[in-house]
C-alpha cells in the first residue's frame, strides 16, 4: 500500500529566510527544475515523516500575489491549482508589516495556512515582541516561531503542518482582511453575481476582490470558466462597479484596496506587537556606512569584484590543470588500448577532446557560482545593484544587470543563467542579448596568439581595447534594443536592501551546485554532440586523394635512413641520422594533415564561405577556424594550429605565430579577425542557454544573427579604415 501523501507549499517574501527553511526541511532530497512554461526555478523535496510522504514545494519569493511578475503568477497558480494541503507563509518577524502584506493575501485565498514567524531571534534582538496567541486568534491561523539559520522550530513547524493537513478543517472564513463599507458592498455584490452563475471555480470572495482590482488573469479565467455570455455579464458589472468606486474615492479601487490592506495590517501589528525601542540595533546599517558609503562604496565594490576574479582564475587554475592532465591520461590510455581507426578517432579526437575543452572550465564556474551565491546570501548583491543602478540605467538597464554582465567576462553560460535575479522579463532578455559581447575567457587565447604575434609590443593595449569594444557594443546594443524591440518602461527600481546575514555553508553549496549541475548537463548534451559534428566534418571524407603519395614518401625515407644507419659506424652519426629522419617524417605528416584539412568537409565549407570573409581580410583558413569556433571559441586556436602550420599539437606558441606571419596575414587582418572573434555568435553552449533562459528559439536565432552581422560590420570597418589610414 502506498503511503498517504501531503503537499506543503512554502510562500514568503524574498529574503524572508524561506529558502533556508526549505533546505532545512528537505536536506539533500531536493529536485530543482523549472515551473512549466516559465524560467522560474521550481524547487521541491520529498520527505518522510510520521508515516506520510510529504512533498515540500518552495514557491518563488514574492512581495504580493497580484499578477505583475511571473513569480507572483506562478506562486498564486500553485496555491489555487496545485491545491497544496497546507501553505506555510513564512514571515520575517523583524519585518512584520511588509511580510503580513503577502501573508494576509494568502489568508484571503482560504487555503489552510500556517504563519511561520521566522528569524524570531533577530526580532527579539530588535526589541520586537510578538503575541503569537493573539495573532493566531485574530486571523484564525496556526502560528509557529522559527529560526531558520539555526534550524530551530523547523521540526515543530513540520509537525504542525501535518496536524493541520490531517485536521481537514478549513480556515474560518470570517477572520480575514475587511475593507471599508463601500468596497465590502461591492465585493458582496460581485460575489453574489458569481455564485448565481453556478459553483465558482475558486473561492468567490477572492474572485470578487481580484475582479475589483482589475486582475487581468482572473478576468480572462472568468470568461474561460463561465463561457462568453455569463462571463461578459459579470465583467460588465465589475467595470461598472469599478467606475462607481473610482468616483467615490477619486482613485483606482486597487490602490484603495492596497491602502486598506496596509491599514488592516497596521491595526493587526498594533494588537500583537510590543516594541521596545531602546534595544533596537541595526547592524546592517553600520555595515552599509562603509559598503555603500559615498567615497568607500565603489572602491570596496571593485575590490570584491577583483577578489572574485582572482579566486576564479588563480585558484581555479590548479584544478583546471588536474582536469587537463586527467583528460590527457584518459586520451593516452584510450590511444594505447583502442585499435587505430574511425572509432578511436571519434572517441579521442571527437568526444573526449570536445568534452575536455569545456570540462576544464568547471572549476572556474564552480568558484564563480560560489562567489555569486556568497554575494546573494549575505545580502551584498542588492547593494551592488544600488551602487551600479545609475550607470546601468543609462543603457536602459537595471542595477541588477551588472553582475550577470560582469560574469560574462568569465563565461557567458553562467552569466546568462544569473540573469534570473532580474524580475522584469524585458530587462532579463535585454541583459541576455548583450551579455555575449562581454569577452569571455575562451576568447582570450585567440587574442594572445594574434596580438602576441602581430603586435608584440602593444599586445596588452590591443587586448584592452578589444574588451572595451565589446563593452561599447553592448552599450549601443542595449540602447538600440531598448528603443525598439524591447521598448517600454524599465521596471520600477523598488528594491529591498535586506539586512546583512551570515551565509550558511550548506545553502551556499546548494546554490552553487544547483547552477553547476545545469552547466554539466549542457556539457553532456549539446557540447558533446556539437564536438562530434565538428569532428565528423573535419575527418570526412575518409579517403582523400592526396596530391602527393605521403605514405609512400614516408616509407621511402624510412628505408633510406635505415640503410644509411646500417652503414654508419659511430653512435653519434646514428643519432644524427635518427633525428634527421624524424624531422623529415614529421614535415611530411604535417603537409599531409594540412592537405587533409583543406579537403575535408570542414575545409570545403571554409573555402565556400571564404568569399564572405575576404572583405574582412580573413583567408579561407581563418574562415574554417572561425567556423569551428562555434562549438567553443578556444577551438579557433587549435584549428588555426592545424591549418596554418600543420602542427596539430602546437605547444610552442612561437611556432604558430611564425606560421601565421609567413602565411601572409597582416597585422590589420589579425586585428580584424580578433574583432570578429570578439563579437561573432556566442558558442553553442551559450546559444542553447539563451534558448533555455528566454524559452524561445526566436531569441537565440536573433542573437545568432545579430551578433554575426555586428561582427562582420565591425571587422569590415576595422579592416577598411585601417587600409585607408595605411596600416597593414
Amino acid at each position: 500500500m502506498s503511503k498517504k501523501r501531503f503537499t506543503i507549499a512554502l510562500a514568503g517574501n524574498p529574503n524572508s529566510g524561506k529558502t533556508t527553511i526549505f533546505n532545512n526541511l528537505t536536506g539533500s532530497h531536493q529536485k530543482v527544475g523549472n515551473w512549466p512554461g516559465v524560467t522560474v526555478e521550481k524547487k521541491e523535496g520529498l520527505i518522510q515523516r510520521r508515516g506520510y510522504e510529504i512533498l515540500v514545494v518552495d514557491l518563488p519569493g514574492t512581495y504580493s500575489l497580484t499578477a505583475f511578475s511571473i513569480e507572483e503568477v506562478v506562486a498564486r497558480d500553485f496555491i489555487l491549482e496545485g491545491k497544496p494541503d497546507v501553505v506555510i507563509s513564512i514571515i520575517d518577524a523583524s519585518n512584520l508589516e511588509r511580510s503580513f502584506y503577502l501573508a494576509t493575501q494568502i489568508r484571503e485565498l482560504d487555503c489552510k495556512v500556517i504563519f511561520a514567524l521566522n528569524m524570531a531571534d533577530l526580532a527579539r534582538a530588535n526589541g520586537i515582541t510578538i503575541d503569537a496567541e493573539k495573532l493566531s486568534r485574530l486571523l484564525d491561523v496556526k502560528v509557529a516561531f522559527t529560526v531558520g539559520n539555526k534550524n530551530e522550530g523547523v521540526e515543530e513547524l513540520l509537525d504542525m503542518a501535518i496536524d493541520v493537513a490531517e485536521s481537514g478543517k478549513a480556515a474560518h472564513p470570517e477572520r480575514r482582511v475587511r475593507y471599508n463599507r463601500e468596497i465590502e458592498d461591492e465585493i458582496s455584490r460581485i460575489k453574489d453575481a458569481i455564485e448565481n452563475c453556478g459553483k465558482p471555480f475558486y473561492n468567490s470572495r477572492w474572485l470578487a476582490i481580484k475582479l475589483l482590482e482589475n486582475d487581468r488573469i482572473v478576468r480572462d479565467r472568468i470568461t474561460e470558466a463561465m463561457g462568453i455570455e455569463k462571463g461578459s455579464e459579470i465583467l460588465a458589472l465589475v467595470d461598472e462597479r469599478r467606475v462607481h468606486l473610482s468616483d467615490i474615492f477619486d482613485d483606482d479601487p486597487e490602490i484603495i484596496m492596497t491602502d486598506e490592506r496596509y491599514g488592516f495590517i497596521a491595526g493587526l501589528v498594533k494588537e500583537v506587537v510590543t516594541l521596545d525601542r531602546k534595544s533596537r540595533t541595526d547592524i546592517s546599517r553600520n555595515i552599509d556606512m562603509v559598503l555603500t558609503n559615498r567615497y568607500l562604496g565603489f572602491p570596496v565594490f571593485l575590490f570584491f569584484i577583483w577578489l572574485m576574479f582572482q579566486a576564479t582564475f588563480t585558484l581555479g587554475a590548479y584544478p583546471m590543470e588536474w582536469i587537463e592532465k586527467g583528460f590527457g591520461i584518459i586520451a593516452a590510455w584510450g590511444g594505447a588500448c583502442l585499435p587505430d581507426g574511425l572509432l578511436k578517432s571519434l572517441i579521442i579526437d571527437g568526444a573526449l577532446a570536445g568534452i575536455g575543452s569545456v570540462a576544464v572550465f568547471l572549476p572556474n564556474i564552480l568558484i564563480l557560482f560560489f562567489c555569486i551565491a556568497l554575494f546573494e546570501d549575505t545580502g551584498y548583491m542588492a547593494r551592488t545593484a544600488f551602487l551600479m543602478d545609475r550607470i546601468m540605467h543609462m543603457i536602459g538597464l537595471h542595477g541588477k544587470s551588472f553582475i550577470p554582465m560582469l560574469m560574462g567576462f568569465g563565461c557567458n553560460v553562467p552569466a546568462i543563467m544569473a540573469t534570473r535575479t532580474l524580475e522584469s522579463r524585458k530587462d532579463r532578455i535585454l541583459t541576455i542579448m548583450i551579455t555575449p559581447f562581454m569577452s569571455c575567457s575562451a576568447r582570450l587565447p585567440v587574442y594572445l596568439i594574434l596580438a602576441g604575434t602581430f603586435f608584440p609590443r602593444h599586445a596588452g593595449t590591443v587586448i584592452f581595447f578589444l574588451y572595451l569594444i565589446g563593452i561599447l557594443t553592448a552599450v549601443v546594443t542595449g540602447r538600440l534594443l531598448r528603443s525598439t524591440v524591447l521598448k517600454g518602461d524599465d521596471a520600477p527600481f523598488v528594491m529591498e536592501l535586506p539586512p546583512y546575514r551570515k551565509p550558511m555553508l550548506k545553502s551556499l553549496l546548494i546554490h552553487m551546485w544547483d547552477r553547476a549541475k545545469m552547466f554539466i548537463k549542457k556539457m553532456g548534451t549539446y557540447i558533446f554532440f556539437g564536438s562530434i559534428i565538428v569532428w565528423a566534418l573535419s575527418s570526412f571524407p575518409m579517403h582523400i586523394s592526396y596530391s602527393v603519395d605521403y605514405d609512400a614518401k614516408i616509407h621511402a625515407i624510412t628505408t633510406k635512413f635505415s640503410e644509411l644507419s646500417a652503414s654508419a659506424t659511430d653512435r653519434e652519426k646514428i643519432k644524427q641520422l635518427e633525428a634527421e629522419k624524424e624531422t623529415a617524417i614529421s614535415e611530411l605528416m604535417a603537409a599531409k594533415r594540412k592537405e587533409k584539412a583543406t579537403k575535408t568537409y570542414m575545409g570545403k565549407i571554409g573555402q565556400t564561405i571564404s568569399p564572405l570573409f575576404e572583405p574582412l581580410g580573413i583567408d579561407w583558413r581563418g574562415s574554417v577556424a572561425l567556423l569551428a569556433g562555434v562549438v567553443a571559441k578556444e577551438i579557433v586556436v587549435s584549428t588555426m594550429g592545424v591549418l596554418y602550420s600543420g602542427y596539430a599539437n602546437d605547444d610552442g606558441r612561437g611556432n604558430l605565430g611564425a606560421a601565421l606571419r609567413s602565411s601572409g596575414m597582416t597585422p590589420l587582418a589579425a586585428l580584424s579577425m580578433m574583432v570578429f572573434v570578439l563579437l561573432y555568435l556566442p558558442c553553442i553552449a551559450t546559444l542553447t542557454t539563451i534558448k533555455q533562459e528566454t524559452s524561445s528559439w526566436r531569441w537565440a536565432a536573433f542573437n545568432l544573427t545579430y551578433t554575426t552581422v555586428v561582427a562582420w560590420v565591425a571587422s569590415w570597418a576595422v579592416f577598411n579604415m585601417g587600409k585607408m589610414i595605411g596600416i597593414g
Binding site: L96, E97, D252, L387, R390, I391, P492, F493, V494, M495
Partner: protein, 81 residues
C-alpha cells in the same frame, strides 16, 4: 514637497503616491502608502538611487520615482530613529 527633494537623514510623512498603474501599485505594495513615515537613509554614491527606511526595513528607489511621491517633511527629531 516631493520625496526626491529630501536630504539625507530627513524624515517625512507620505501624502500621495503618483505615477501610473503598475508602478504605483508596486510602490504601495512595498509599504510606501500614504500616512507612512519615511526616513531618507542615504543617496547612492552617484546620487541615484536613494535608500529609504520604511516600516522598519530598507528599500531603494530611483530619484525619478521618488519625485512622484508627495510628502510632508517632519520636524527634525534628531537621531531618534
Amino acid at each position: 514637497m516631493l520625496l526626491s527633494q529630501l536630504k539625507e537623514g530627513e524624515d517625512a510623512m507620505i501624502l500621495r503616491v503618483g505615477g501610473h498603474g503598475s508602478f504605483r501599485r508596486r510602490i504601495m505594495e512595498m509599504g510606501i502608502v500614504p500616512g507612512t513615515e519615511v526616513h531618507v537613509e542615504k543617496y547612492a554614491p552617484l546620487k541615484d538611487p536613494l535608500e529609504l527606511l520604511v516600516k522598519g526595513y530598507h528599500v531603494s528607489l530611483r530619484v525619478e520615482e521618488a519625485s512622484l511621491i508627495a510628502v510632508e517633511k517632519m520636524a527634525d527629531r534628531g537621531q531618534a530613529q
